[in-house]
Symmetry: C2
Subunit: 191 residues, 2 copies
Amino acid sequence: MFCGCQFSLYPLNDRFVDIILSAIEAVGKPQDLDIQTDDLSTLVVGRPDRVFQAIAKAYAAACRAGEHVVLNALFSRGCPGDPDEPKCTPIRTEAGEEVLGSWDPLGIPVHAQFSLYPLGQQDYMDLIARTIDLTKREGTFHRSKHFCTRIRGDLAEVFKTVERCFADAAKESVHVVIHLTASKGSPSRVE
Amino acid sequence: MFCGCQFSLYPLNDRFVDIILSAIEAVGKPQDLDIQTDDLSTLVVGRPDRVFQAIAKAYAAACRAGEHVVLNALFSRGCPGDPDEPKCTPIRTEAGEEVLGSWDPLGIPVHAQFSLYPLGQQDYMDLIARTIDLTKREGTFHRSKHFCTRIRGDLAEVFKTVERCFADAAKESVHVVIHLTASKGSPSRVE
């Protein structure tokens, strides 16, 4: 299995270069992750829970340094075109459940929206509906929009929700993609 | 058929509010499009070619006003969960080909990456491969990355390519989604 994320940070201010570089530096160079940055995004490859933790760390660092900071992240697992990568294999309980990350509140309130795409299966709309129900059970659901679902909460709660949606969908679909947009500190009124 | 796009503009500077508001204003209120903005994104619903033209207009306006400006756009057509909306129906030639927009160069060079998701079909990887081939024929292909394909050129060429990929994929798949990230004026070295 291959798993990773292409993510980008957008600090909406003149200090964006320093904020982005410091945020990526905050992730460090963990041995269990491959990290590669270009001018459009940073790729993180590794175990799903580790990928979510690393990107939350980068985004939290950027949020603390900037005022209005947006994250865009494309999470993908199980793409049949990617090589099998042992370091991406999730840890599982004896019952076979994927072990997810532990999330302590970060004190950073964010608004977010995400879309989940289970590829290669005809009953994908049912799985998407179950994903939306899951955000309701997690307590982060805000409202549905065309093409995506809004969630909100502490940055840690939002990541916890998206990580769970990603893992749960992977029980039913080999290839799962999530696109997440998260925003902290927007001056716009939230509806 | 329902078709639309959720897009967001990220001018990486202190004047972001004015740049975003002016860019959305530049689109105006065309009668054939429904436009709705919240704090995370702007929804444009209408005929696919008109949606691409509107978002290119907004992004071009933002690019001209800012230095480094990023666009994120989620294009979707044919989602079975959306209502049938007559104003989204493409115009077709007598031979049944979808009429696409005409694109004059804008003098704005951009780097971009995008992912196309044909939902609900098992042979989706073949369609994705054909999409990448199409970017090569269009002359905008730059390189492949994990989870997405890089393209480059004038903003108009990049939009022309993505619009064509979207329309071509829809010949084979009822429900097609494209996520596009475009960047103008990044201070980072392009690889």
